[in-house]
Symmetry: C2
Subunit: 304 residues, 2 copies
Amino acid sequence: MTETFLGLPASFPEALAEAAALTDRLLDKLLGVPPGPEARVFEAMRYSALAPGKRLRPFLVLASAQLFSVQQRSALQVAAAVELIHAYSLVHDDLPAMDNSDLRRGRPTCHKQFDEATAVLAGDALLTFAFEVLAQEDTHGDPAVRCELVSSLAVAAGGNGMVGGQMFDLLAEKDPTLGLVAITRLQRLKTGALIAFSCEAGAILGKAAPEMRRALRGYAHDLGLAFQIADDLLDVEGSAADIGKPVGSDAAAGKATFVSILGVERARGQAELLVRQAVAHLDLFEKKADLLRQAAQFVIDRRS
Amino acid sequence: MTETFLGLPASFPEALAEAAALTDRLLDKLLGVPPGPEARVFEAMRYSALAPGKRLRPFLVLASAQLFSVQQRSALQVAAAVELIHAYSLVHDDLPAMDNSDLRRGRPTCHKQFDEATAVLAGDALLTFAFEVLAQEDTHGDPAVRCELVSSLAVAAGGNGMVGGQMFDLLAEKDPTLGLVAITRLQRLKTGALIAFSCEAGAILGKAAPEMRRALRGYAHDLGLAFQIADDLLDVEGSAADIGKPVGSDAAAGKATFVSILGVERARGQAELLVRQAVAHLDLFEKKADLLRQAAQFVIDRRS
């Protein structure tokens, strides 16, 4: 295997598209469909993991890894693993017993396209496969680095991270009195933990100094919250055609969101403040972090 | 942490009980319930992972590890990880969209005790936590060994292993014409892969020579099939009080099993043959493998 270093385009939209194309190419290669009846679960995995999407998390992995001159092959393995986790979480969150969504990224959700049992299993297999990918030698020559990635991703995705956040969210769903502190913590678990892992993964791969890792974690924390506030704003102001799912669903469900608590204007102001804070964490990387700076702005400017 | 070597009792029933007690003690310690609303998912994880059970897979890990003088702490971490995977698979398999079971190990299934969403999330978190446990330094001082464990468990539990077998099973459920070759392959994936990992894990932890690892794999393969045939026989002949779930459910569902294909007598004969084959693989370990020999006999003699 040749040693190729990452060289994402300097402009964010191009870099995001390049990150998505590279990640999808690897996912396509990794997710081979075996012969036999179990092929069905692989088809559902492919349907979900290769569904159209921005691939923001893979981008964050690649852009963070680029700060430390990590090999492309390594960074892409982690980008693929993060996207596998994200895809599994969408498949399970969409289930009838959870958010009961029929539409995702503009297409039928996995349980609508296949069936509920297949969707449960496809989610399980995507989650399991993420760890298989991280443990592969292609991910990093040093097994200690691979172990740290497995450990950090498991913490970010598990009961003290994403899954805990989803539990919190389900319990909070019918509680319009949820306050700002609670909803901030909820989102930090539900979406923030995986975004934080995506940014930290570059530092883990690059064996970066602790202060660099802390800086990326700080960036990711603010970015994750800004991302969620922007999501809540899109649910109020976006168009269904742009975001690929019905709008106004949070309000209709009587769900507390950053927008229901703060109002549209203050929520927007808060998101902008968070983006400025996120960018400030990147100072020590100087020019090299320009892509991550652009990404932060994109997160609150996006229309879908 | 002191270096304690495994010393399971020489008699199988005592060794099985000891393995269960040690594994449950570690699971109890590992599965701490955090404050906050996400506590609910941890309560469901504990309810499922600490439910009464034989803990046959943890026993197989410990008994295999004992062949190579592996430290107790290491072997127990892997035993706990395997039991977490087994517990998650039961929680998801019992879901209404899958086998729709109300009773498991004599108690309400997870989605009956909690609710369906919590059961989906508890399964996800148990699965994720298994990899977190394997990646911990306590599992082995050598990160290359931890990576190999992560990789092997992911393969055994994923789409080409247990999850693939469950997909196969769901598709085959309504097919009473399923033949012996197909059902053997189905069971090898669905239950055999995790049993094989449990036995191989000892060899991975002990950095055993390839022929020892092959021997354990051969043992596990035959043991896994014998185990499944015994399960099918119990479904026909067992009592609900003993096995903790309704009997005759396979026949009522028109499901092909080893018993429906071979009949009771030939199925029993096949299980006995497999046990003799399993035991033959252990010859190179001489006396040291006596516990594994007793385990093979237990698998077809058990009443639950």
